[in-house]
């Protein structure tokens, strides 16, 4: 018997036959994997063959919330999309803010499991626990923001939506699942899997409450954690004031801000695309996701130039970098427009920008013939950026179709996959491992390919006085610790940004008060480690090996040519062995039987 936090039911949707059924949430799994990322991954591990074609009907998608979704726990409205990802075949989990997660719970379900494939485009309308399959032929081809509005008009204006855009429909390998029209589950191509099932979206509206096991203990934990965040200079200072783009000047000043497809890593024009400039030039107001006291979200508008009058959400730090420095572009309005387009088409803005940068280098070096692009592709050209994103979103020509597969497949097509700034085919984000050593280990070992939000070592290496960014010692331990913490945190439905102030013990307290399960910081981290190892086992069975735990050759071999990190390369081997040993894995990156037994995963090995 679960006392609180969960609704206790999972909705299973068979898209082939258009039938649904309800299942009880398993209490033993809730205790072992929390919910969200952990519980959802367990479902995929149990039900999906790791070698299945990710775009085949046999693949499944779990849309999952955690036990803190729908409460006043700080920044607790995350929703997670878990599936076998098409970009690289790994276990893919991509999470998003907005309001879909809390509203899904109010329909009475903790999670939705999507199975099979509909013969025609449909969307789901889940209204107070009643589920309808609705025709979506008229929505197919519509942009994400249009789909959000149309689906709400056809159902209920105050409902919350999930939708894919044209990128997901056309199964781009870097397609997002979008929530509330502009919040993204943005990595690993999860949108393509939803598109492969002919599912345009899901609309939810419910009237049920979310209870917690211990009212007074929970109220006190909420008060205490909100107070910690209110006193934190990042969560209550930099992020609300400048958004995540506060990082542009900070990271560039360390010379770890990859420029022109990482040919360099210091961008002299960084301040033209900084959070400070965005605030002065484009910010309309801040936006908070459900129950968030940080409100890093930017509501913006373009006030001059050829995109004048366009408005939307963002850009965040990562797209400002991928469209900006990575493409050699300092026109913030063009960058903002590229970001709006990615949201509308449903494209991963990190991968999209990095793919354009890769195309620009392929073109400048002569590897990609000029005739293959409908316009000249040169670093620093804002028009080439915006038109490339359009081409990628619409896939009307070979150029667009090629770019929509991401930088790895693009580079491979022209015989130069080494020019893809990716790990396990997923483009890395806006921190150069040559200048921030620990983040390279995180990119190399992340279970979904290069990623900063599996274990955000930047918090320890740059944003707090802790570890020297250029040393290797201690980075393996901090990477493992943050990876485990984040896996558990993601499973509760809480935003990563709370960890600027909150520690494992604070999160364990919220989780424990909500669910009634005993949990302290040690147990919380152990659950995280269990989830990490479970993801790893899936990846090994899908065919990945230790050889895939690496970085682009450029990062390992080509020194940065200017700025504060001039001369640096990343020596991954100085950290990787220690990391495997801390994880209790062999040198081949395979978990040992002993460690799996300690974690209670022996049944999965």
């Amino acid at each position: 018997m679960i006392d609180g936090g969960y609704q206790g039911k999972i909705l299973r949707v068979n898209l082939t036959d258009h039938v649904v059924k309800e299942e009880a949430l398993r209490e033993d799994w809730a205790k072992r994997y929390i919910g969200g990322r952990g519980y959802g991954t367990r479902i995929i591990v149990d039900e999906v063959d790791p070698k299945v074609d990710p775009l085949a009907p046999e693949n499944k998608v779990v849309i999952a919330t955690g036990p803190l979704d729908g409460t006043t726990a700080p920044s607790s409205g995350r929703v997670m999309v878990i599936t076998k990802g098409p970009l690289n075949g790994t276990i893919a989990c991509s999470n998003s803010g907005g309001f879909f997660g809390p509203m899904l719970k109010r329909t009475g379900y903790d999670m939705i499991v999507l199975e099979g494939k509909s013969s025609e485009p449909v969307y789901l309308w889940i209204n107070k626990g009643k589920v309808e399959f609705r025709d979506a032929k008229h929505l197919w081809g519509k942009l994400v923001n249009e789909s959000d509005q149309l689906m709400r008009e056809e159902t209920h204006l105050e409902a919350e939506t999930m939708a894919i855009g044209p990128a997901g429909e056309k199964m781009s390998m870097i397609a997002n699942v979008m929530f509330n029209g502009h919040r993204a589950s943005g990595r690993t191509g999860v949108g393509a899997v939803v598109g492969s099932k002919n599912l345009k979206g899901i609309v939810v509206r419910g009237n049920l409450g979310v209870t917690v096991a211990d009212h007074d203990k929970f109220a006190e934990a909420v008060r205490a954690t909100r107070e910690i965040l209110a006193q934190n200079p990042v969560a209550s200072g930099g992020l609300p004031l400048y958004g995540t783009a506060v990082l542009v000047n900070i990271i560039n000043s360390t010379g770890s801000f990859p420029v022109r497809n990482a040919q360099d890593s210091y961008f002299p024009e960084a301040d033209k695309i900084s959070g400070e400039t965005l605030r002065a030039q484009n910010l309309v107001r801040n936006e908070g996701c459900s129950d968030c006291s940080i409100a890093c979200g930017r509501v913006t508008a373009i006030k001059e130039g050829k995109y004048k009058g366009e408005h939307g959400g963002g850009p965040e730090y990562e797209p400002i970098w991928s469209f900006g420095a990575m493409c050699g572009i300092s026109d913030l309005n063009a960058i903002t427009m590229a970001n709006y387009l990615c949201d509308r088409y449903g494209l991963d803005a990190i991968s999209a920008g990095s793919t354009v940068a890769c195309a620009m280098e392929l073109s400048e070096k002569g590897y990609m013939p000029a005739k293959d692009a409908p316009f000249p592709l040169r670093f620093g050209d804002p028009d080439a950026l915006v038109e490339s994103i359009r081409a990628m979103g619409e896939q009307k020509d070979e150029f667009g179709r090629l770019l929509a597969q991401g930088s790895y497949r693009l580079g491979e097509h022209y015989g130069h996959p080494e020019l893809s700034m990716s790990v396990k085919k997923q483009e890395f984000p806006a921190y150069d491992p040559r200048g921030i050593k620990g983040i390279g280990l995180e990119y190399a070992t992340s279970n979904r390919g290069a990623c900063h939000v599996r274990g955000y070592t930047i918090a320890a290496e740059i944003l707090s006085p802790g570890l020297d960014r250029l040393v290797y010692e201690g980075k393996a331990a901090v990477t493992k610790f943050l990876q485990d913490l984040t896996a558990a945190l993601d499973s509760t439905g809480t935003c990563l940004f709370t960890t600027f102030g909150l520690q494992a013990k604070d999160l364990a307290q919220l989780y424990s008060a909500a669910t009634g399960f005993d949990c302290d910081d040690k147990e919380f981290l152990k659950i995280g480690e269990r989830i990490w190892n479970m993801e790893k086992l899936f990846n090994l069975k899908s065919g990945l090996t230790g050889k895939d735990d690496t970085l682009p050759p450029r990062i390992l071999n080509e020194p940065i040519t200017s700025g504060p990190s001039k001369g640096e390369v990343e020596d991954l081997d100085k950290m990787l062995g220690e990391y495997y040993s801390l994880r209790g894995w062999g040198k081949d990156s395979v978990p040992t039987k002993d460690r799996l037994k300690e974690l209670g995963l022996e049944d999965l090995s």
Binding site: T71, T72, L208, E287, S290, A295
Partner: protein, 163 residues
């Protein structure tokens, strides 16, 4: 008397006020049971909080056939006496602000009572879009804001600039 001041321009749309209100009043998180409500306009991402204004001449009180809604001249609040309510819902129709709400089951009338002087919604509003302020301070605060404009103009004039 203190009042709840709503400033839509500061609202980030996080709706924590709604979750906090329902938890305070019912022990369960359910925005449909919240006395305060935030309307989101998705197209331009505008967020507008709404709550009972505790009117001096409340229409809800006037239409209530059982005196379940009564202006309390001591506290300044419009009190809702649940035991007198017959559920006719005329107060919902009468309220010009839509601030008399109905709970998640569509049966019980709910309205804001300022949580006995310590509103739960205000405690979670980091953006200060909801504040709880003495009514005369609201007025003087507004006058201060307007006066600042004149102060700037006066400073310009002192520099010989004709505004």
């Amino acid at each position: 008397m203190k009042v709840l001041v709503l400033e839509p321009a500061k609202c980030t749309g996080c709706r924590a006020c709604m979750d906090a209100c329902s938890f305070e009043k019912t022990g369960v998180f359910n925005p449909l049971d919240s006395r305060v409500n935030v309307i989101t306009f998705h197209e331009d991402l505008t967020f507008v909080p709404t709550v009972c204004s505790q009117c001096e001449t409340p229409y809800c009180e006037q239409v209530c056939p059982t005196a379940a809604l009564v202006k309390n001249t001591t506290t300044g609040l419009v009190d809702f006496l649940k035991e007198k309510c017959i559920g006719c819902k005329q107060c919902i129709v009468a309220c010009p602000w839509g601030s008399i709400r109905i709970n998640h089951l569509g049966k019980e009338i709910i309205k804001c009572d300022h949580c006995s002087g310590d509103p739960a919604c205000v405690k979670v509003c980091k953006a200060e879009a909801l504040t709880y302020v003495e009514v005369e301070d609201v007025v003087s605060g507004k006058q201060q804001g307007v006066a600042q404009t004149y102060r700037r103009i006066a400073a310009e004039m002192a520099k010989g600039v004709n505004p």
